[in-house]
């Protein structure tokens, strides 16, 4: 259920109310990103410090969001987890974006069999259940950040490649671009001067939506117990590790679940905001 397919849904513009995108989109994501970046300096408690005597403690002055089953501060683990969950999601998108941009542009520029190969490969990968792929890769490689990143990258670059190819071929067909091509400008220049500006809003939109989808995917893999290695505080594994106590100590599940919700929601809102600002994005993707 976690794929950047929303951007490809056909239809027309939709508008969020003014100010809405800031409150539900940019603000929470900016805060989470700041927490992820500066988390280590914010923490007063080591997220892996255990106090078995405080296990299962409900929220209190000492433990703002309570303690988990090993008596670790959930608040500290949420902060540390932002770095991991959001970090993997963002790095995964950046890697896919770079790959997709490169392959998409090359296939649009070169056309012919190159385009055929890249596009058919993308079709096949896009038709595969990406979650299954990420699960398999991290299961086989024994979990860890690298495995999840590889799985995400592998299943997501085709989306970016298709988008880039579509926008790029439209741009390359424009008269002024054709002219600079005939004037002998290098592909690199054409890419920077003509294609990049046209494609940026689309990539921003798809990228933001994919970040949201990735946070969910990572949490699903964590839930299945195939995610990161303990004791790393990833939000999905925090839920998986404490779901057993959902009905007796709900705070242990609700805190990471809330973090996942806020993070994904804000990324989705931002993605849709950009997709709405640039009409026709869906037809292209």
């Amino acid at each position: 259920m976690t794929q950047p397919m929303r951007a490809s849904s056909p239809g027309r513009v939709r508008r969020w109310p003014p100010g809405f995108v800031s409150v539900f989109g940019f603000l929470p994501l900016a805060i989470t990103l700041l927490v992820a970046l500066f988390g280590p300096w914010l923490l007063t408690t080591n997220p892996n410090r255990q106090d078995l005597a405080a296990a299962y403690a409900p929220p209190s002055a000492a433990y703002v969001l309570g303690a988990d089953d090993l008596g670790r501060s959930i608040a500290a683990r949420l902060v540390a987890g932002a770095r991991i969950s959001l970090g993997i999601a963002v790095v995964g998108v950046l890697a896919s974006l770079a790959t997709g941009l490169l392959l998409g542009f090359i296939s649009a520029f070169h056309g012919g069999w190159v385009r055929q190969v890249v596009m058919r490969l993308s079709d096949v990968i896009l038709a595969c259940p990406s979650l299954l792929f990420v699960i398999l890769v991290s299961g086989l490689l024994g979990g860890g950040i690298g495995a999840i990143l590889f799985g995400l990258w592998m299943s997501q670059w085709p989306g970016f490649a298709r988008l880039t190819a579509a926008v790029a071929s439209k741009e390359l067909a424009a008269d002024h671009v054709e002219a600079s091509r005939l004037l002998g400008f290098r592909p690199g220049y054409i890419f920077r001067a003509h294609v990049m500006p046209a494609i940026m809003p689309y990539l921003t939109s798809l990228g933001a939506l994919t970040v949201g989808a990735n946070v969910l995917t990572i949490s699903s893999v964590g839930f299945l117990g195939l995610g990161l290695r303990p004791p790393d505080a990833e939000w999905g594994s925090m839920i998986a590790g404490t779901m057993t106590y959902f009905r007796t100590s709900p705070h242990m599940v609700l805190a990471p679940a809330g973090a996942i919700l806020i993070c994904t929601l804000s990324a989705t809102v931002i993605g849709e905001y950009y997709s709405a600002r640039h009409q026709g994005i869906e037809e292209i993707a």
Partner: protein, 320 residues
């Protein structure tokens, strides 16, 4: 007539594609098992004997499953056995692969078809209700609600449903597949997980259709709104939804893995993952084969249905 011939060619193309993809997926599953770090025999022995694994059981597993042979020989042997219609025997249970994989496939397709059907039904209703109010308060509320729902991990949806309907109300079984109604909660979980995306597709389709030619035509003819919606707007609205079936089936198969675990169902995606991790090559390839075929089949059906619904769309962008 020409249209029928076109359709025939499309069908043959899809059958060929299905065969190609099926073999490719099964081969990938084989390669995945081989590529994983560690000795394959240990993984098989663990899946077979669990805590009673010992060094001798590892040697037995290695000998009994032909693991000590060349990789190419193993692969060719699988090709040979699958050409005769059998997929071989599981290296873990020793049982033939086909009945087990087929049972898993039935479980998955039962939940998937019910869940997707439910999601389709609800999203069409929501799509029309909301799409006709474009950019008004109901529409915006819907967009926000669907953004929220799409931000909830599906396992949390499932846990909430179990807590409410199985544990508190005791209306439905909490897990397993040997009770009547076992598929309801997993299907609803799947439907709720698919609903945000699907209903947005439906809503956008409705918005676009209503801005298009047909309703205007109906209005010129002086027809009533319900008549316009159902006579003219319904069919064009279906086109993008049907075209969305491809990504939908991929989401469904992936999402069902989480749902299988939560509800203790023995679905085909779960079986693929378990068997790859257990290095049970025949089982992994069998499950991969079925998943590959069903993905291609749904994509093909969706292509053909799009054509039937809107013959203007050419066969140019056929999958794969």
């Amino acid at each position: 007539m020409r249209r029928l011939r076109g359709l025939g060619a499309v069908l043959i193309g899809h059958v060929l594609a299905a065969a190609g993809v099926a073999v490719a997926v099964a081969t990938l599953a084989f390669v995945a098992v081989q590529m994983a770090p560690g000795d394959v025999a240990f993984r098989i022995a663990e899946a077979r004997y669990g805590e009673r694994i010992s060094l001798q059981t590892v040697d037995q597993a290695r000998a009994a499953t032909g693991m000590d042979q060349n990789v190419m020989v193993q692969y060719l042997r699988w090709v040979e056995s699958s050409l005769t219609g059998q997929l071989g025997r599981s290296m873990v249970s020793g049982r033939p692969v086909m009945p087990d994989v087929w049972r898993s496939f039935q479980t998955t397709s039962g939940v998937a078809v019910t869940g997707v059907g439910l999601a389709l039904f609800m999203s069409l209703i929501i799509g029309f209700a909301v799409g006709m109010q474009q950019d008004r308060i109901l529409d915006r509320a819907f967009l926000f609600a669907s953004a929220i729902l799409s931000s909830v991990p599906s396992f949390l949806i499932g846990i909430a449903l179990i807590t409410l309907f199985a544990i508190t109300l005791r209306w439905l079984p909490a897990a397993g597949n040997n009770r009547p109604g076992y598929a309801i909660l997993p299907s609803c979980t799947l439907a709720l997980a698919l609903l945000p995306d699907l209903s947005r597709v439906a809503r956008n389709a409705v918005v676009r259709t209503l801005q298009d030619f047909y309703p205007t035509y109906g209005r010129i003819k002086g027809q009533s709104w319900p008549r316009i919606v159902f006579r003219h707007a319904f069919r064009p609205t279906l086109v993008p939804i049907v075209a969305y079936f491809g990504p939908l089936v991929a989401h469904t198969i992936g999402g069902l893995v989480v749902i299988d675990v939560l509800f203790n169902l023995d679905g085909v995606g779960t079986r693929l993952i378990d068997s790859v991790l257990a290095a049970d090559i025949p089982m992994a390839m069998g499950a991969g084969l079925l998943i590959g075929v069903s993905v291609v089949a749904v994509n093909g059906i969706s292509d053909i249905m799009v054509q039937l619904l809107d013959p203007r769309l050419s066969t140019a962008r056929l999958w794969p």
